[in-house]
Amino acid sequence: MSSTIAPQRRSGAAQRWRRRVPGLIMATPAVAVFLAMFVIPMILAGVLSFTDWTGYSLNFDFVGWDNYARAFRNPRSISAAVFTGVIALVGTLFCNLVGLAIAALISGPGRSNTILRTIFFYPYVISSLIIGFIWSAMLAPTGAVNGMLASFGLPAMPFLTDPTFAKASVIFTIVWSHFGFNMILFLAGIKSVPAEYYEAATVDGASRWQQFRSITVPLIAPVFTVNIVLTLVGLLKAYDVVLSLTDGGPAGSTQTIVYQILKDSFANSALGFGAAQSIVLLIVTAVIGLGVTLVRRRAEQKAVD
């Protein structure tokens, strides 16, 4: 640990080693934990995805690409993948549209804006599972929303019992709980735009809307990137909220990829198949995350020019 002061004649290699010891001591624990809980499991998932292991029997065979072929042919997997894609795209679109619009409306100083910011953002600290349960109680056939409709003399709506309605309910609940996060990042971006720009534009007689279009939006381009990437990558993992809101129903119409993975790996004892779907999700997530970042980088460059 502590370096000795006495000068010793050692070969250069040993000297270099001694200099490296503290760094190794400091880095090793974190690397070890990360390898054990992240890297090795990743490799294991890769290996398992080529086997037909059930998860508990002792014998298994390598089955090549069978699991992957199955993942791309199995109607359950396909419908889960499609719905997850819809959640990611539609959810990202709405989270960011609503988040940006609200941020623009409450970016000014003042107490009422601070209170509104709190109201829009608070679901961020509540777990998705609980948010799903809350909305499930709101949207159930005998829930609060249908009770409200009844008091206006309107018929009850099948929010969670009809496949199309249920899908919309899942996306609505996700947007409801997530747009506040996007709003916070947009607000931070909007507040970082120097006031002089707006002053100059005001002198030139630009309207509020023109200022927003041609000053705010281009200058906060990096915030768009962060918001889009984080929301897309986050929503591809949607699971908790689906579990508590619809439990994948009705008739499996709101199952997501992660829902499938966990079901196949544990309940259905098809570990190899679950692992293959995990690897597909991982690759899609990485490609989308990096891809969007690169595309937006270009757009940011253009916006600045």
Partner: protein, 285 residues
């Protein structure tokens, strides 16, 4: 100085703005409002008038029943989840800070590789690794145990933490390291006694973000601890108690209220730090 030529927003624009904000604000608050008022009502009143406050049928019985429920010991769940939050935060900081320091001060390709290794974890959905993690923990004899869960949760916090810590440490001048070295402190000691104390702001940010993450995590405790362990966090406990499509709202609303309460208190007290931490975390990228 500047001529006010800004076209004043008309009353119509102002009206539309308030209408939009009002509708969205009500949509945000209605579930909370419903949950709070219905936690004190019998089933019949909840079904008939979910949005009305009915003082004549106000009762604390259902909330008390939820607190003392044999199905879900909420007080124990608070305690256990809080313990997880504290322990994971401590381990996360003990592991991340030194390695982030090595990365921030390093100049070789090894150090860059180390950073990339951890940052790759940002793009890996945790649930993807969870299944093989179960087998790794089984080999270590830690499945269904608290140490096993803490090990995984700590690993899950490393990518973000190391990323933020090393970004912060790059802005700390090297003079401090050199001064410590002149005083004869080895690198390890120099870090803990001279550098780490300067990291307070970024440590606070990480503690806030990790605490929310660990408190709200559901899938990992559900799978790593599992119902067989008998250890329930707030989320896994609620899942076990409320279950799917439970229509006994006298159980559902009080239980959900109890589950949400600590998070809301934390939010109200720490709001500025949460928002600051989020913005710092997202804009460092």
């Amino acid at each position: 100085m500047i001529r006010q030529t800004r076209n004043r927003p008309s009353a119509l624009v102002g009206g539309i703005r308030w209408l939009v904000l009002g509708v969205v604000a009500i949509t945000m608050l209605i579930p909370m409002y419903t949950m709070v008022i219905n936690a004190f009502k019998p089933q019949k009143d909840i079904i008939e008038s979910p949005l009305l406050i009915t003082p004549q049928s106000f009762t604390l019985d259902f909330l008390w029943a939820a607190i003392t429920s044999s199905k879900f010991n909420v007080i124990a769940a608070y305690g256990i989840t809080l313990l997880f939050v504290v322990v994971v935060n401590i381990f996360c900081i003990l592991l991340s800070a030194p390695v982030a320091y090595v990365i921030a001060r390093g100049r070789s390709k090894w150090h860059l590789g180390l950073l990339l290794l951890f940052v790759s974890g940002l793009f890996i959905p945790g649930q993807v690794t969870l299944i093989p993690v179960v087998f790794v923990l089984r080999m270590l004899g830690l499945i269904n145990t608290i140490p096993g869960f803490i090990l995984f949760e700590t690993a899950a916090t490393l990518p973000v933490t190391i990323f933020l810590f090393s970004a912060y440490l790059r802005s700390v001048p090297r003079d401090i390291d050199e001064a410590a070295a002149l005083d004869g402190a080895g690198p390890v000691r120099a870090f803990w006694s001279c550098i780490f104390p300067i990291m307070k702001p970024v440590v606070a940010t990480i503690v806030v973000l990790n605490s929310i993450g660990v408190w709200n995590d559901f899938v990992s405790p559900q799978i790593i601890l599992g119902p067989s362990s008998g250890i329930y966090t707030v989320t896994t406990g609620v899942y076990a108690a409320v279950g799917q499509f439970s229509t006994d709202y006298t159980q559902v609303f009080p239980t959900l209220l109890l589950a949400v309460l600590p998070a809301m208190v934390f939010f109200i007290v720490m709001q500025r730090h949460i928002i600051g931490g989020l913005v710092a975390g997202a804009t460092k990228g």
